[in-house]
Each structure stands twice: as structure tokens, then as C-alpha cells.
Amino acid sequence: MILLFAGVFLLAGSGAAAVWLRRWPRLAERAYLLLAVAGAAGAMWPALRVVGGGAVEPVRLATGVPGGAWVFAIDPLSAWFLLVVLGAGLAALAYGAFYLAAEAEHGSVPLGRLVFSLLLAALVLVVTAQSVVPFLAAWELMALSGYFAVVFDDRQDDTRRAGLVYLVATHAGTLLLFLLFGTWGSHAADLTFAGLAAAAHQLGDARSLVLALALLGFGVKAGFVPLHFWLPEAHAAAPSHVSAIMSGVVIKTGIYGLLRVVTMLQLPPAWWAWTVFLLGAASAVLGVLWALAQHDVKRLLAYHSVENIGIILLGLGVGALGLAYRAPLLSVLGLAGAVLHTLNHALFKSLLFLGAGNVVRATGTRELERLGGLARGMPITWAVFLVGSAAIVGLPPLNGFVSEWLVFQAMFQAGVSRTPAELSVFGTAVLGLVGGLALACFAKVCGVVFLGRARSEAGQAAREVTPGYVIPGIALAVACVGIGVWPALVLAPALRVAAFVAGMPPAAALELARPAVSAGQRIALLAALGVVVSGLLWWLRTLALRRAGTAAAQTWGCGYARPTARMQYSASSFAAPLLAVFGPVTGVREVRHASSYETHAANLVLERGVLPLWRVLRAASDRLRPIQHGRLQLYLLYLVATVSLLLIYLAVWGSP
């Protein structure tokens, strides 16, 4: 635990060093990186030990304060999320060190570094705090440093607006968490998580309220439909490394919260499990559909986070159904799928955002319709982005496949479970559809950005960025491939975490899911076979060509001899047939001219739901204005009146 705290201090200190040493930019950059890497490594060590099956002593601080001691501990769930935070977070931080250095005209670089390392430190504390007070404090620090990281470029109207929407959304969520822990805590002896867990069976009717509040409060952070409205705005407006950590890691704290509540409450009721499952299905399908409608690469990636949170919720939902209907195999497979997809999504989504950052840095635009043919100028970024794309689509042999395979298995198993959970077998259709749509979407992104011909001068001139930009991406890509070709690396640890959440002994869970664990090696064999067979065919066709030769010519244009880059299929036209199938839920407006076709995508929930509601609220609160005079005497009067009313209340109805 000492290592963990040392890690947190070093992480926070790296930001402080970046500010103190700002006069000497090179020194500041080195100190920042060195301290942050040391801090992340320090905090990573105990997490790895716990994930490997070991244990770490918890720490109890400030035992005398009201609400019970401040406990920090690394149980399997915390350890798993520490890996998520530090793995993706460190890559994003290293990338940001270079990315921000070139953004000096948009904002203060040292402050940008400071808030980023504070965000990382806060994330570490969020997933290790085991008492309500430090948990909420870290949660708030995370929300605030996240806000300042997002509004780095605060001279832009869009960025400020996105930041405001994010700030309002996250605080609304935090408010619900206060209600959640307040309700629960009033039944418990103290506000440590252990105390809350002990009071779980005394909750009675409040249990349903607690579960509903958890779903809403943590849901705003996780960003599933319809609580996702802030997410595409904030993630698109932030600098790329901030988008990476927001999309890859910060939204996962919502998933962490839900898993933590399930762990403490045990046996969630069936209605809650079904709600989670259906929310997951809705988020997955709508998220990917809305992503398909975008042609701003970062907004598109942000909507894919909504989709992947949906996939995680599908796993969590099946897991919770297994708990509710006493089908342990379902809970183990579903929860393992959910936690593994959490890690995988953190890896490939940060990878994709960093790749998008390279594209933005090299071309100065996020607009898909202005890109094209970047594979020539930026081969490494292209290779890394391709790995991330194949992983997020869930193609073998990459990590996204492994976790989706677990979720699929949980749903197939549900079909044979002979409990009411068997209906969740229809989730396979949802997940299949989502995979197909994601394939279409990433074929669009890869094809329009990296392949074909450049659609603008900027795209034409794009060259590979400096090594500092590509190394974090390469590291993440290696992790994606590693988990994909050798799933045994993560299957057993993920199952142990699932067992911890489900409240069963790890050995029993591993025994129950033995077919899945042993399948890990078969997947490795499958990957090897695929590479060997494809390689062999490639070699044969090269041999055949060596004899017969290759000629270069123009692309076949059906007789038209002067094709231009503008005649290529665009992102809008590629997605058009799929969007037409799904009709108005896609929120797309088409603009057709004789020689052009454009689509405009709306953030439906924000524009049709949240903002109108906000206007009503604001009109209502205007009525309260008259009591705000700005006169000190009046405010003092309000204070006195409130305190007197409270005293009267206590005197009349209060307990003796």
C-alpha cells in the first residue's frame, strides 16, 4: 500500500514539477515524464500482485472522523481497475507530454499537464478508496480535473459549451451519489464500504432505491443511453490525449461503481438485472448507429464508447441475471466478459484516440470528408490504427474478440440455463448486429482516412509525426495483440475478479468456467493457424506473380478516364444505406445536391431532450431571482431564519 500512495504522490508531483519547472521546458518535460512513469509503476506493482492472486494489507487513516475510518484497499476489483487506469492512463500521459508541447498557442501547457496528472492520481484514489468520504472526494477531484483537462483550449466556444455540459452532467451524477450513500449510510454503522456491505441485508425497501440511484448516478459517468448526452461533446472538444483517458478510463469509473455496488449488495433483484441488460442493448445499438452517422473522427470514436459501454452492460446484465436467478455459470461468464471488455476497451479506445490525435496533428482537421490516403504518409499510425479498429470491431485475433466472446458465451449459456434468464439468449442477436455495424463503421473510418486518395491539400501533405507520438500507440497495440493471441494471460484473472464480484470463491469460479479457460489456448492456436495459412497464401500468390509480373494502371473507372479524388465514396455516402435502414433514430439530416451529398448528425438526446428541459428549469428558477438581492443583511436574515426553523423542527419532532 505504501507503494500505491507513493505512486499517487509521484503522479500528482509530476504535474507540480511541470508547473514549477515551466521556465525550462525541456527539463520540465523530462521531469514530468520520469515522475509520472515512476508513479504509475509504483501504483501498478501492488495491483499486479493482487491480480495475480496475491493480497495487499488495507490501510485505515483518520479513524477518528465522523463517518468512520478512511480505508484504502486493493481487492481484486480495485486491482483490475488500477490496471485499466494505469495502463491506458500512462500511455495517454506520455502521448500528452508531446502533444501538448505543440499546443502552446491554445492554452497553458504546464497547467494542462498538472490537471492531467491530477486526473490520473484522482482515478487511482477513486478505485482504491473503500470509504464513502474519500471515495466521493476523489470522485469530485476526478470530475473537476477532468473538466479543466477538457477545456484546455478554452478560447473556442464549442469547447467551453462542451465543458459546461460535462460539468453539469457530472455534478448531477455526483448529487445522486450523495443521495445513494446517504440512503444506504443511514442504515449502516459507519460509512466504510465494509460497513455498508454489512448493512446490505437491513436495507429493506430502500434496496430498490439504492440500486436505482446507483444506476442513474454511476450511469451519468459511464455514459450509456440516454445519459450519454455529455459524452460526445466533451470527448470531441478535448485534446486527443484527454479524449483518450476520458473515453478509455474515466467513463469506466461508472462501471466500477456499478460493480462495487453489486459486490456490496450481493444478489441484485431481477428487475435491476433486466434493466441493466436492456440499457446495455439500447446503448450498444444506438451508440454504434450514431457513430456511423458522424464524420468528425473524434465524435465518432466518442459514440463508439457509448456502444462499448453498452457491451459491458450486456455482460454485467447477464452476470446480474445469473446472480438473481442463481445460475452461477452465467454470473461468472457475464461478469468476466464485462470486466475484460472494460480493460480491452480502455486499451483500444485510447489507442484509437491517440491515432486520431496523430491525424489531427498531421492534417489539422478532424473532418473525415477532408482526409484520405494517409496510409502513404503515415504508415505507422495507419498500422496502429488498424489494429485498434479490428480490436474494437471484435475481430480475432485481437483483444476485443476475447471479451465479446465471453459475453456471447454468457448469453448462449443463458439459453440453456432453464431459468427466466434464458430469454437473454436474444442478446446474441443484438451483439451480432452491433459487431456488424461496428465493422461497417470502422471500414468507413479506415477507408476514408487512410486509404484511397487524399480529399484535400492537408491530407496530401500529411507525414508521419515524431516518434514520441507513435510509441504510446505502439505499446497499446502490442497489448491489444498480446491479449488477443494469448487470452490465457487475462482469462483467469478476469474470472477471479468476476468471482469476487459474485461473492464466490475464486477456485469454484475457475472450475465452473474451465471450458472457457481451456478455450483460451485454442484461440491462440486459431490465431497462429490464421497467420500461417494467410501467410502461406500470400507467399504463393507472390511466387505466382514473380513469374507473370505486375503492371500498374489507373483504377478501373468503367471507362471513365479522368477520375478525381472528389469522385471517391465519402464517409457520408458509405454510411447512407445503413442509416436509411434505421430511419429517424439515427438523427441524420441529408443534404443532396446535383454533385454532392452531405449528412449532418444531431446529438438527439441533448438537443431534443436535455436542452429543452434545461430551458424549462431555467425559466422556473428565474422566479426565484427576487430573493437574490446581493444585500448582506438579507442573507444573514435567511441564515437566521433557516437555523431557527431547524431548531424548532428539532425541538418539536426531534429525538430526545
Binding site: 480475432p396 458465451q409 448462449f412 430469454l423 448486429l433 501467410g535 500468390r541 505466382a544 507473370a548 471517391q568
Partner: protein, 305 residues
């Protein structure tokens, strides 16, 4: 790997190019034409392998790697099916997801290769292929889910190598419905009428064919061969669902498979002779119908027990 597995896999891989020939011959006979020989695809493949390649100056490495990836993934997917009616060479819990994933990987490679040419025709083909492939997935997974519920398993080997005797009768109505859904999916996944018409002559009306317009020589040979193998794999799944091969010996079981594949070829030819291609906007309804059918099958199975 047992001898029967090797034999079945080798037979399917060697005989796969016959399947398009059978389809073509059926269509020719029904139209009262002579038609090309049944072995035409073998001749085409041999010719293409000898030829050189014309490569567009717009394309990059992605365009040249895609055919090998498409063919490689299709061949490896074949190893996941219990073609001999007993067990697949490579089987594990949830391998059904890997089967779908491998086919998706091959498709992803081809779609990217099409976009790499910068041609609007190929972009159009890629867009349509990705669209219909996405809409195929729910039906496909529901078919596998129905088989999984019927056999209590998540692996293709128990799903397709059915040994159940009396149980088969109980599951038969559902299996027939799954078979209907799977035959529609076979047509859709392999670019046949009524979803796509491989014999069409206008780029604007093509889907799969226009996507691979720029490939030539050995690359085109790989794509054509893998396409035939993919059709044979879907045919094999269909045969395994509809014909219980549990009572046959290893050789008999393989013979049943080969005969079944021939019937599938004739069936596809019949469909192509009597139907026209659907309008593109009607195709989604066709694909939704497959999902609805397999949903019925699952409901039948779940309510039976």
C-alpha cells in the same frame, strides 16, 4: 486430428469450386441453354494463377494483402466445422463466435481493399456489402443460438454433429425452421439471388462483384476460390442441421455431406432461376425475416422444455 476429419476437410476444400459450377449448370438446364462446363471454375482458377496482375496506382499494401487474408480466414473457419459429422479438428467452448469472427475479418479486409482503390463503384459495393453483412449477423447468431439451446452447448461440434436419436424428433420442427432461416442466410452471405446477382453485367447493380472489380490474376483467384469455400461451408452447416448424420459411419457421413452439398447447389440454382434479385431497399426485410424465423425456432425450443 482423426483421418475422417482430414478426409472431410480435404474433400470440401478440393470440391468447393464445383459448387458454383453445379449452380450454373442447374440454371443453364432450366433456361434450356448449354452453359459452361461444371468444372469451369477450376479452369478459371488455373488461368488466373498463371496470369499477371494489373494493380491500380492508387492502391497500397492493404489492397494486396486483403485476398490472402480473406482466403486464409475462410480456410481456417473450415477447421471449426465438424465436416465429418463427428468432431471439428479445432473445437472449443464458444467457437461459434470465432467462426463468425473469422468470416467478418475476411470481409473487413475485402471492404478495406475496395475503399483503397478510390473508385466510387467499389466504394459503393463495399458500402452495400458492409450494410447487408451487418444485417445478416442477428439472423446468423439467432440460428446458432437456437442450435445451442437445442443441444445445450456453445460449440459448433455438438451443435452440428448431432448424435441425438429420439431428441432429434423433439427438436425437429425447430431445426426445420432454423434450416429455412439458414438457407436464406446462405444466399445473402454468399452474394446470391435474391440479395445479389453474380451474373449481373452492370456495375451499379452489383454488390460483391463490384467490390472486387480491381482485383486480377492470382489475387482474384484467391477471392473466387475462398468465395466457393465459403458457400460450401454454409452449405455444410445447412446439411448438418437438416440431416442427422449420427447413424452413418465416418465414410457414409462424408458421402452424405457431399451429396447434401450437391443438393444445396441445385437448390441455389433453382432459386436463381425462378427469382429475380430484390430491390436493394427490400433486402433488409428479407434479412429481418431470417432473424424472425430463428426467433420462432428459439421460442419453440424454449417452450418445449
Amino acid at each position: 486430428m482423426a483421418a475422417s476429419q482430414v478426409l472431410a476437410l480435404a474433400l470440401v476444400l478440393v470440391l468447393a469450386p464445383l459448387l458454383p459450377g453445379v449452380i450454373q449448370r442447374t440454371k443453364s438446364v432450366l433456361a434450356g441453354r448449354q452453359g459452361p462446363p461444371v468444372l469451369q471454375l477450376y479452369a478459371d482458377l488455373a488461368r488466373l494463377l498463371r496470369k499477371g496482375m494489373v494493380s491500380s496506382t492508387t492502391t497500397s499494401l492493404a489492397f494486396r494483402v486483403a485476398p490472402a487474408v480473406f482466403a486464409g480466414t475462410t480456410l481456417v473457419a473450415a477447421a471449426l466445422l465438424p465436416l465429418d459429422g463427428r468432431a471439428a479438428p479445432l473445437r472449443f467452448a464458444g467457437d461459434v463466435v470465432a467462426f463468425a469472427g473469422l468470416l467478418a475479418l475476411g470481409r473487413f479486409a475485402l471492404v478495406l481493399a475496395a475503399l483503397d482503390t478510390g473508385s466510387s463503384f467499389e466504394g459503393m459495393g463495399a458500402s452495400r456489402e458492409a450494410t447487408f453483412a451487418a444485417l445478416v449477423e442477428p439472423g446468423l447468431f439467432l440460428c446458432f443460438a437456437a442450435l445451442g439451446v437445442a443441444t445445450g452447448s456453445t460449440s459448433l461440434t455438438p451443435m452440428l454433429a448431432q448424435r441425438f436419436g429420439a431428441d432429434w424428433a423433439a427438436a425437429a420442427p425447430a431445426l426445420v425452421v432454423v434450416g429455412a432461416s439458414l438457407s436464406m442466410l446462405t444466399l445473402a452471405e454468399n452474394g446470391r439471388v435474391p440479395v445479389d446477382d453474380p451474373a449481373t453485367h452492370l456495375e451499379l447493380t452489383m454488390i460483391h462483384e463490384v467490390m472486387i472489380l480491381d482485383h486480377s490474376g492470382p489475387d482474384l483467384a484467391l477471392i473466387l476460390y475462398a468465395g466457393a469455400v465459403k458457400l460450401a461451408l454454409f452449405g455444410a452447416v445447412l446439411v448438418s442441421v437438416l440431416v442427422p448424420r449420427g447413424g452413418f459411419g465416418p465414410v457414409g457421413s462424408i458421402l452424405v455431406l457431399v451429396a447434401g452439398l450437391a443438393v444445396v447447389g441445385v437448390g441455389v440454382g433453382l432459386v436463381e432461376s425462378v427469382m429475380a434479385r430484390l430491390r436493394l431497399s427490400r433486402v433488409p426485410q428479407f434479412l429481418v425475416a431470417t432473424a424472425v424465423l430463428s426467433t420462432f425456432a428459439i421460442m419453440l425450443l424454449l417452450s418445449a422444455s
